[in-house]
Symmetry: C2
Subunit: 268 residues, 2 copies
């Protein structure tokens, strides 16, 4: 059982994971389970997180103490390997070290540690919105069954949606998440921009945005596709392109997506 | 006050509007307010709707009776003008005739009727999902203030989100709706496809899809943009494109949307 956890990183992911673990029933003095240390390059941030979870703050990775049960690296992708190297320099070798990244394979940790894995919460976090961790899909992986079980024991307390996801699967999730989150949000931006040009509020589209997301909670999006492209309604498509003619970049995106929807239909 | 309504069309929009009006408090015999007729080219469909709202079914527009307070044309865009011409042939001239289309200007009705307008519910309807009409944005327009007031009286009973939207504004809404609904749903499809290739369920992305839509319910999407493109994280973008190299069409879409997000950032 994982009793002692150290969290490296003070971004949204480190913050939400740290708080979620700290608030677990049975993660306390009585059960002898603790968050030991919080690291951030910025000591104020480390202190802020440490105060929330009764741990110790540090801004030096070399001060990270070895021999705890789990080290969670929750830093930007391009800093993971550097942090791993420093943790190794701090004396970690046989401890279980995981990162929270969707994009980085766990094998980058293999150079430094004998036990490694991932602990990847697949949700978009922001400091200002409360995360209900119970509904966040947690993707876990480790290079031994014993460690997978240990991570699973902790993960299933945190979330009702725990998944065993290897590096290759996690890579697919990360790319797919860009499509359904980042790119989707960009389409919302385009929508707002088009309305602003005519003094119309995004409030008129907000229910549609929400309903579009709700519809695919139980159905497959392929069965929920509507609109002029899937209907091959060329008259409406032409009218929309005419409407967009003074905004060539938005028109080009409209054409690209319309073509994809039409082609897909032709293939399937 | 609008007391008698005729509905032309038996698709999702006609169905949901008809039911919503029928269920209004005070839309009954006691108040002398009725849905008079339901038209569909398919008599079975017309009958089905008519039975639900205690009206008369017809599959012939020439049987539509004149002198009612409101005629709602809820048919496909390319059929609106034909329906209008037939209603005119059926004897309608000074009656208030509206259509429910986002794409078609109300002026197509001006050739046939002296009083015309629009009654456009901005939501994605499906027969299988109950629509809470109270939350559906209703966009209304008419060519006289008296008729705008009459439509408004009816609309505000149906929905808490009634908006006065002219033809030009409605055109912007219709294009914007394609971006936030049709194109967004297509991005969900791409996400599901990428996961299926690695035997991963869309269930892992469903909470993210919903949270992405929820975030913009109170915030502007421009402030909610995350991901490698907005961070100019070229390393992750390159890794994703490498991942997609065997799927050139998905890669091309990834590049197009990434470029748009980056360019936008550069401009603003």
């Amino acid at each position: 059982m994982i009793r002692t956890v150290t969290i490296i990183g003070s971004g949204n992911v480190g913050y939400h994971i740290g708080r979620a673990i700290f608030r677990l029933d049975g993660f306390d003095e009585a059960a002898d389970r603790y968050i030991m240390q919080n690291f951030s390059r910025d000591f104020t941030k480390a202190q802020y997180l440490a105060d929330e979870v009764y741990s110790e703050a540090t801004d030096s990775i070399l001060d990270i103490e070895p021999n705890n049960d789990l080290y969670i690296i929750a830093v930007k992708d391009d800093a993971i390997e550097d942090v791993a190297a420093q943790l190794s320099a701090a004396g970690l070798t046989d401890e279980l070290v995981v990162h929270t990244s969707g994009a980085t394979p766990t094998t980058v940790l293999a150079k430094y540690f004998t036990r490694y894995g991932s602990f990847y919460p697949l949700q978009t976090f922001s400091r200002s919105r409360k995360a209900n961790f119970k509904t966040v899909p947690l993707c876990i992986h480790a290079n031994s069954n014993t460690d997978i079980e240990a991570l699973s024991e902790l993960a299933t307390q945190l979330s009702d949606n725990v998944n065993f996801i290897n590096d290759e699967q996690r890579a697919s999730l990360h790319v797919a998440a860009v499509f359904v989150n980042n790119f989707t949000n960009y389409l919302y931006q385009v929508g707002e921009q088009l309305l602003q040009q005519k003094d119309v509020s995004l409030d008129l589209l907000r229910p549609l945005i929400l309903e579009t997301a709700r519809k695919v909670q139980r159905h497959s999006p392929i069965n929920m596709q509507t609109g002029p492209a899937i209907r091959s309604d060329h008259q409406t498509i032409e009218r929309h392109l005419l409407y967009l003619q003074s905004q060539p970049e938005i028109a080009a995106l409209y054409e690209h997506l319309t073509k994809r929807i039409m082609d897909k239909e032709a293939v399937t």
